[in-house]
């Protein structure tokens, strides 16, 4: 069996973002394997350990994405495929660009992050599924294979609640917290990852969405602080008064 995780490299959540010329400037930012993609990487490694076969990492992005692929290989994935482009492509176009590679690899299933922390997009998984004509299970919190990999039983989140589905494979799954606890790369893992194969495939696609401008609009906060350590009742009264009379929101 073959299990694929599609990953991306994004700025660290905790890092301060800088804007220059109407764009987020990545220079000097700490770039990491997207934390929601990490769950996908962990899951394909676990599936490979349990059922045998191969765990493959696929990424579409600029050269620097190789670092994120190496991180996934250091966690224990077997090899990588890197579709290289410096163009910033929207998720629908990315799915189109990924389709041939994913179809040729003929995996048992594909994982990707539930939401990428740079785009705040949830579209990549469903769009890949559409490109391949496969079902998609979004926000997956648990997964097990049935019938020698013919089916998967998966639990996933809905807007209000959750459901368990039985889905014919191959299929696309997107990750959600609770799926697993990703392992840390070990030193031997990091050493081994350096020798693992990353196949580079240059691609040329044109995106459908143009980003005109990025800005950071932080709402100015009032930062009024009330001391509630001595007289909690008076502090609570004051808070309710402010919300009612000043903010007029309750």
């Amino acid at each position: 069996m073959k299990f694929i995780a599609v990953i991306r490299q994004v700025p660290d959540n905790e890092a301060k973002l800088r804007i220059e010329g109407g764009r987020v400037n990545y220079e000097g930012a700490t770039l990491i394997l997207d934390q929601m993609d990490e769950w996908g990487v962990e899951e394909v490694i676990r599936l490979k350990e349990q059922y045998g076969g191969e765990a493959v990492i696929v990424a579409l992005g600029p050269e620097r994405f190789e670092e994120a692929i190496r991180t996934a290989l250091a966690m224990g994935a077997d090899r990588g495929v890197h579709l290289v482009t410096e163009a910033s492509l929207d998720p629908i176009t990315q799915a189109q660009a990924l389709a041939d590679t994913l179809r040729d690899e003929a995996p048992t299933l594909v994982f990707t992050g539930g939401q990428q922390s740079d785009w705040d997009s949830q579209a990549l998984g469903p769009a890949i599924a559409e490109a391949l004509g496969w079902p998609v299970v979004t926000w997956t919190t648990s997964l097990e294979l049935e019938g020698q990999g013919a089916y998967a039983k998966a639990k996933h989140d809905l807007d209000e609640g959750a459901e368990v589905v039985r889905v014919a494979l191959p299929a696309v799954f997107t990750t959600q917290q609770g799926l697993n606890e990703p392992r840390y790369p070990t030193l031997p893992g990091i050493m081994k990852a350096k020798k693992k194969e990353i196949r580079k495939v240059p691609i040329a696609f044109e995106g459908k969405v143009e980003t005109l401008e990025q800005t950071i609009q932080e709402r100015r906060r009032l930062n009024k602080v009330i001391d509630g350590t001595k007289d909690p009742v008076a502090a609570a009264d004051e808070l309710v008064r402010l919300l009612h009379e000043e903010a007029k929101v309750i």
């Binding site: 905790e14 807007d159 609640g161 014919a168 969405v209 005109l212 990025q214 950071i216 009024k224 903010a247």
Partner: protein
């Protein structure tokens, strides 16, 4: 034509559907009149309401929700209407099936938009990115599919006349997804994503029992209860109440954070709230940096007092 996929609960249109209709009407300069489609089962009741808002209403009886079924139904309606723009609600489910639709139409997808407009023949949208920290402006040529972030748009009013109603026959794809079990969380009161007041409890409340008071305060204010990831992971509250990167994103008029420290991942779900109030015993908690009103104190003392004050306000 511009097509709106109307979210509903089986009885009524959801607030998100009325926001989506408003957005669709704003685009009639480039996309023409507004058609709607209802997808699901037993649509007759909600159709009575829906036809008052659109020029043409399509009904697609496809059974319980699957992303594939919804995408197929929306595609059938889009083809029938000849729509160049499709608008849907940016709920989690809406954001699961709209990429499939966009891909099938060869359309651009603009996700979770705050505002939409036109520039010549293009659709312009603003949306958040980078965990809600960056606002970006995007542009795309037709055809376009876009989703509307909840609580961003005035609700549409009914039209003077009723639209035509037509039942669609939808060819459902044999996608091989079989729903074995569905656990729907029974929500009382308003839904979290649509609430104008959200009262969220964090791990600092100390126990699941303490949430009874969070619920009481939310009820008194007519708001919804939220929870942090730590609280959900501990099994104190259902996942549907989680606010943050891996939960829901809310933008209420006021967000009241009780014993919530305010990690970046939590802020991603609430930092665009109009007002933020926080109660925390740690004056250094990150939540105070984004709060308009902060009470430094023990939540077990302040929360009961807030409930009493809210009761007085109501009287």
């Amino acid at each position: 034509m511009i097509l709106v996929v109307l979210e509903h609960d089986g009885q009524r249109l959801r607030k998100g559907a009325l926001e989506a209709i408003t957005r669709a009407r704003q685009l009639n300069a480039i996309a023409g009149s507004v058609a709607g489609v209802l997808i699901g089962e037993n649509l007759a009741a909600v159709a009575e309401e829906a036809k008052r808002y659109v020029q043409a209403l399509y009904l697609a009886e496809v059974g319980p929700y699957t992303a594939e079924g919804w995408a197929a139904a929306a595609y059938a309606a889009q083809q029938k209407a000849g729509a160049q723009v499709v608008v849907a609600t940016g709920s989690r489910q809406g954001r699961s099936w709209t990429p499939r639709l966009a891909y099938r139409m060869g359309a651009a997808l603009l996700e979770d938009t705050l505002e939409t407009g036109t520039d010549g023949a293009k659709v312009i949208a603003t949306r958040y990115s980078f965990l809600n920290r960056v606002t970006e402006k995007q542009s795309a040529a037709l055809p376009v599919v876009f989703t509307v972030k909840p609580n961003t748009t005035p609700l549409a009013e009914p039209l003077g006349s009723e639209g035509t109603v037509e039942t669609l026959s939808v060819e459902l794809p044999a996608v091989g997804v079989e729903v074995m079990e569905r656990v729907v969380e029974q929500k009382k009161g308003v839904s979290l994503a649509e609430a104008t007041i959200v009262v969220t409890g964090g791990r600092g409340l100390g126990s699941p029992q303490a949430f009874a008071q969070v619920e009481e305060l939310a009820d008194l204010l007519g708001g919804a209860v939220g929870a942090t990831r730590a609280v959900v992971d501990a099994g104190w509250r259902p996942y549907g109440e989680q606010v943050g990167q891996t939960g829901k994103t809310v933008q209420p008029n006021v967000y009241i954070a009780l014993a919530v420290s305010g990690a970046v991942q939590h802020q991603a779900g609430m930092n665009k709230s109009k007002y933020i109030a926080a109660v925390n015993k740690d004056p250094e908690a990150p939540i105070f940096k984004v709060a308009d009103y902060g009470v430094v104190g023990d939540v077990h003392q302040v929360l009961p007092a807030l409930i009493e004050a809210a009761k007085k306000l109501k009287d």
